[in-house]
Symmetry: C2
């Protein structure tokens, strides 16, 4: 029986690096190619991107990569995935392709990549399938969901969405199209699960405008507002409020400047003439005439707001009367960094408004009642929750079941799982190779489990090296052992311990009978003896590394 | 003019390791001696305890350490602080001293420490001061606030508190005593700021009972509930609910077992006969007759619940029909670990209830309206917010100001600040040496900034060592350089890079003219050359460690 295969390569069982492979016959269509920021345990890793091993021998079958919107977790993998897949064509809406181009230029790929522009309502023929784009609300303009018409049936991918009746970009949810799609019949819905833990409805962006208004009305001096550089609609809200209160706006932070410029060029930001000023000129105006929009809402160490909070920024110093707004929610794992930034801003004397004490941010994702609304309008035969950790996928599945979708019509899948859908049934049928690909500096994929495990051991208790030179002929130690340690104990305070360690190393040579030996055996012995000795003395387990040189 | 000095050694400007020094004349009274769990950047550190350097030359003036309640952030520093301060007497309520004794026994200090039992209402003469204890509600029974009567005036330390009209231990807030204290006149109030960001009132513990009831009523199989081992009142709630639903209770997790046993012995837990069963016997009863109370509500890697979630526990495996309740809020920084545990429990097929989807936990700290209530009842002349990061202290100060306390009657202080209070004025007058003392394995205080910074560098990009043996006479390399790397690149995949690195090291010897040289200069040169080379090739910055041995 004819079938569709769905193979998530990212974003299912995790939050980030979204990438969904949809196969019908010889045609492969990919939705999104995002990145993920590393976990705490992924020491030193800069980015995590999807593992495209599965697609390596199927490149010629890839008809397109369709992009739902311009957030990093949907487009950030493109500079790595596109070359790996021989540059299949990318389809994206206008603002999204603008953000993609900024990114491709940074990686010097703009000449090789093919990015085609689409608009909501457009249909694109891809092999025997047709993709159709529909407008959704999200925390970035020009976000779309995607309908893929296949001979087996219709697949609907919601992208990230919420329902906003009063969005900042003036384009409310397109209920007409959603209802039409549902009425035409949908085989399988792939639905965003990010905010399934929240009951009710996600508030409209309008709520933020009201909060900003209140804060602007009472701010005695400058206003600094930090948000995501891609949150173009938030920038619009701030600009609108600034204009209303007779303030001019400066942009601080590289990605904020480049994204805003691009959004202005493409007409996605409406900024009255002379409203924008250069960051260098902020001190030429009285404080009550200034708004600074900057990066750093996540407390990222090198971002503008963090530098400002640490009195470490080239242009901006907190001064009495400043008001700072963090218009974002901390991404899980960033709470401590964000709190530290807030504490430092308060210490400098700023008034600080942030999520939790003031409604200065709303989510871009659908809460439970909106998820139900989507399910009820699309009325899919089968359902696969996407975009979320396992518990979120599970809760979304339960929510769909509560609306009457039979349990065997719902599949909870994680990255690498293969789902087969026919007209009559949906099943998880297997698993393909699929893990995390780590980007560290210039290396893509070269940092693997061994390197990471070493970093974890080094981070925990440091390293202790025992270096000695031995006679090639006799096996007798000629120099050393030198004991060198980093991150284990402060060497100057631990001379006695290290002297004892040196003795233990020498003891490992006793019984070798003065002739050249199997050095790997000796090294193992040194390692074992030292590890035990150090643990006994300190209850720490540094990495122990014996180095034996023959001369 | 006569004065009181207040010197926080922990808990102000941070959450944890609470310790407040109160001085009048020759008398020093300390309130609490807690620990703090390490931040993400404190690699390898097990615990953080207060720095008592300031007290080192004042030991004979210390009249007592008064303990407000038995949580780790109030008593956990005692095993380190007591020996350092020559064992001043500790005063604590009954349950609190039970928890302290458990801790002292672990550290084999029970024979040297003096722990005296007090009850709410008791007064203790301490030099020229008198301490008086009053009952407060918190998420552990037997919590107290402390009044210290000095010749200058009265200091009130709230401890951690909330107002609960229907607490589990049946002892509601003691409004009578609070009102009396306020009426008698209070010079300075030290007030818990932990939950100042939350508007309204913190719900009563009763809310949790209602949630448990609903979950128990619908659970088809076993119920596992994880909470803090010190949350004795939560254990009582679970036991009560279990009895109501005809279930027996097993305890899993070392600290849960020892704390519960101690609480039973002291009469703080009321458990009907035959309700408790051994964890080994849980499979002898039908699932719907079982409740398991375990540790691990914070997703701690070696805790019972985490092991259960990872299918790695000696006695308990998740089975179909199991219901798991996480009755705790993730401490900031633990969100990812907690989420991972929840995901794994869902993966094993359990139904999981947790904060955010179900009201299975309430805070033990006062929200804004309760903070106002405390301020209004105590009516202090001066106010110092305690227990919180800077932003929380700041918000608590603003809240106090909103109740009419003049700005110059409020001091925001952080650890180590010295506050002087006279009958007429309060001022921050200086700062004493006060930092974090790290406990790592057996070492207390030996891990400092240098060791931690090394661990951070090692964690980020690993280490690369260049080891070579040179002729003592000629300075000519005899063996090596051997290039050894851990946590930087996977050596087997990076042979070319490491071979080039080897060449660079040898190049550093060119121009040394074949005679013995200043090795520290050569090592610096190797380090510099290699670091630049490796950054250029990889954009990573491993620790580079040249080792030169002479023979």
């Amino acid at each position: 029986m004819e079938k569709i295969r769905l193979i998530p390569l990212g974003g299912l069982g995790e939050v980030g690096k979204n990438m969904m492979v949809i196969e019908y016959g010889e045609d492969i269509i990919i939705v999104d190619a995002g990145l993920m920021f590393p976990d705490d345990e992924m020491f030193g890793v800069d980015l995590v991107i999807p593992d495209t091993t599965y697609l390596q021998d199927k490149k010629q079958r890839i008809r397109a990569i369709l992009i739902t919107h311009g957030h990093e977790d949907h487009i950030g993998g493109l500079p790595y995935v596109l070359p790996a897949l021989d540059f299949p064509p990318v389809y994206a809406t206008r603002l999204t392709q603008g953000l993609i181009q900024v990114k491709l230029k940074e990686h010097k790929l703009q000449d090789r990549a093919i990015v085609k522009m689409v608009a909501p309502g457009d249909k694109v023929k891809l092999g025997k399938c047709t993709a159709e784009f529909f407008h959704v609300n999200h925390s970035i303009p020009d976000a779309v969901g995607i309908v893929i018409h296949t001979p087996v049936g219709t697949v609907v991918h919601t992208g990230d969405y919420k329902f906003d009746h009063t969005p900042v970009d003036g384009q409310p949810a397109d209920f007409g199209t959603l209802a039409r799609i549902g009425t035409e019949g949908v085989l399988v819905l792939l639905g965003d699960s990010t905010r399934v833990e929240s009951p009710g409805y996600t508030p409209s962006e309008r709520v933020v405008s009201d909060s900003l208004d209140k804060i602007f009305a009472n701010a005695p001096g400058r206003i600094l507002i930090a948000t995501f550089a891609s949150l173009i609609s938030r920038v619009q809200q701030v600009v609108d409020t600034a204009v209303r209160y007779g303030r001019q706006v400066a942009l601080v932070g590289r990605s904020m400047v480049s994204n805003v410029q691009m959004a202005i060029d493409l007409g996605y930001l409406n900024i009255p003439k002379h409203t924008l000023i250069r960051a260098e000129d902020i001190n030429k105006l009285p404080p009550e005439r200034i708004v600074i929009i900057c990066t750093g809402s996540q407390g990222e160490p090198t971002s503008a707001l963090t530098r400002i909070a640490n009195q470490d920024h080239r242009l901006v110093r907190i001064q009495p009367g400043d008001t700072v707004i963090l218009s974002a929610t901390p991404v899980p794992g960033n709470e401590k960094m964000v709190n530290r930034t807030i504490n430092n801003l308060f210490r400098q004397g700023a008034e600080v408004f942030y999520q939790g004490v003031s409604p200065v941010h709303v989510s871009g994702h659908a809460a439970q009642e909106e998820l139900k609304l989507m399910l009820s309008m699309i009325r899919p035969k089968f359902f696969v929750p996407i975009h979320g950790e396992y518990r979120q996928l599970m809760l979304h599945a339960k929510l769909a079941a509560s609306l009457g979708i039979p349990a065997d019509h719902i599949v909870i899948a994680e990255d690498g799982d293969v789902i087969e859908v026919t007209k009559n049934a949906i099943h998880a049928v297997g698993h393909v190779s699929c893990g995390n690909v780590y980007v560290d500096g210039l290396g893509v994929g070269d940092v693997g489990q061994i390197v990471l495990r070493d970093r974890q051991v080094l981070a925990q208790d440091g390293i202790l090296m025992a270096v000695l030179t031995v006679d090639k002929e006799t096996g007798r130690p000629l120099a050393g052992p030198d004991i060198i340690s980093r991150g284990f104990v402060y060497m100057r305070d631990a001379e006695e311990l290290l002297a004892s360690a040196r003795e233990r190393v020498l003891e490992s040579f006793i019984g070798l009978n003065g002739h050249a030996s199997d050095w790997s055996f000796v090294k193992d012995k040194i390692k074992h003896t030292l590890s035990e000795f150090l643990y006994e003395k300190t209850h720490r387990r540094p990495m122990v590394l014996p180095v034996v040189m023959e001369v």
